[in-house]
């Protein structure tokens, strides 16, 4: 991604955050916390004092959309360039540390007890980022036919394991093993799905590294 694009994205984020903070302060101080505190939107009537919150909310939506479009375009362009150059992308193994974000998934047990929120369980999927550790070790590797074969083999194996885990979870959870409690079933399903995504992400990189590295370990140089 170009440095200027990153600058624009960061600046946009700062402006959006500042606008949102100002409008929240205005709403809390002068507008009875409308659109900040939970309210019944079925009886909502527009008031001019709502404008700052509506504008900053709209700005935030536009920013998030622009962010998504930019990141997706960059990702697709990077992928196309990778295919054109036949080299793997350059990734730092240190990005593997992002995998520790997966531990945030345990917050789900706390948040479910406090306010019934199950969203933090999704963080378990971040365990998959440990795969960056292995991808980084294969950074900027020439992708010849054997490498591509190994990559396809690793991806297939990773998806098989992940799919098997999902099928087993589906069968087990379908038996209402949690005393028929739908909340617990949903939580278990979210955890299993997040972990299976993490497993697929991690295994495809780990197995590729193993296939490639183990073969090189037993080879002598010349």
């Amino acid at each position: 991604m170009k440095r200027s694009t990153i600058k624009w994205l960061v600046a946009g984020g700062v402006v959006c955050a500042a606008a949102l903070a100002l409008s929240i302060w205005y709403a809390v101080a002068y507008n009875d916390s409308r659109l900040v505190a939970p309210m019944d939107f079925s009886t909502y009537v527009f008031r001019p004092q709502d404008l700052p919150m509506l504008c900053s909310g709209g700005l935030l939506v536009v920013y998030v959309l622009a962010l998504f479009v930019t990141v997706f375009r960059w990702a697709f362009r990077a992928k196309a360039e990778r295919h054109a150059t036949s080299y793997t992308r350059t990734v730092s193994p240190w990005l593997g540390l992002l995998g520790f974000l997966g531990f945030l998934g345990f917050l789900g047990f706390w948040s479910y007890g406090v306010n019934g929120s199950v969203a933090p369980f999704i963080f378990f999927a971040f365990f998959g980022f440990f795969g960056f550790f292995y991808e980084g070790r294969l950074s900027h590797t020439f992708m010849d036919e054997r490498y591509k074969e190994n990559a396809a083999r690793a991806q297939l194996q990773a998806l098989r394991v992940s799919f098997a885990l999902e099928v087993i979870a589906l069968v087990v959870l379908g038996q209402r093993r949690f005393g028929g409690n739908l909340d617990y079933t949903l939580i278990a399903m979210m955890i299993v799905l997040s972990l299976s995504v993490a497993l697929a992400l991690f295994l495809s990189e780990y197995l590729l590294y193993r296939y490639d590295h183990d073969e090189q370990m037993e080879e002598g140089g010349e």
Partner: protein, 66 residues
């Protein structure tokens, strides 16, 4: 267990090519040439043909299938 016998090493050495040079000629990594010489990798038809052309030997003499 190799499915075939590979005589690439002797043809390569006869042409005074290193694994690195041969790899560059046929557009693969050196590790792939190593694996090929140990008959631990079954190459695509294109790679086999490229190698045969690079070492100037008939493809059926480099890769011996039972």
């Amino acid at each position: 267990m190799p499915e075939f016998t590979c005589r690439l090493k002797q043809f390569r050495q006869a042409k005074n090519l290193t694994q690195e040079q041969l790899a560059a000629l046929v557009g693969v990594r050196r590790e792939t040439i190593m694996r090929l010489e140990k008959a631990q990798y079954n190459p695509s038809l294109k790679l086999a043909v490229d190698i045969a052309r690079a070492v100037e030997a008939p493809i059926e003499e480099i890769f011996l299938f039972p």
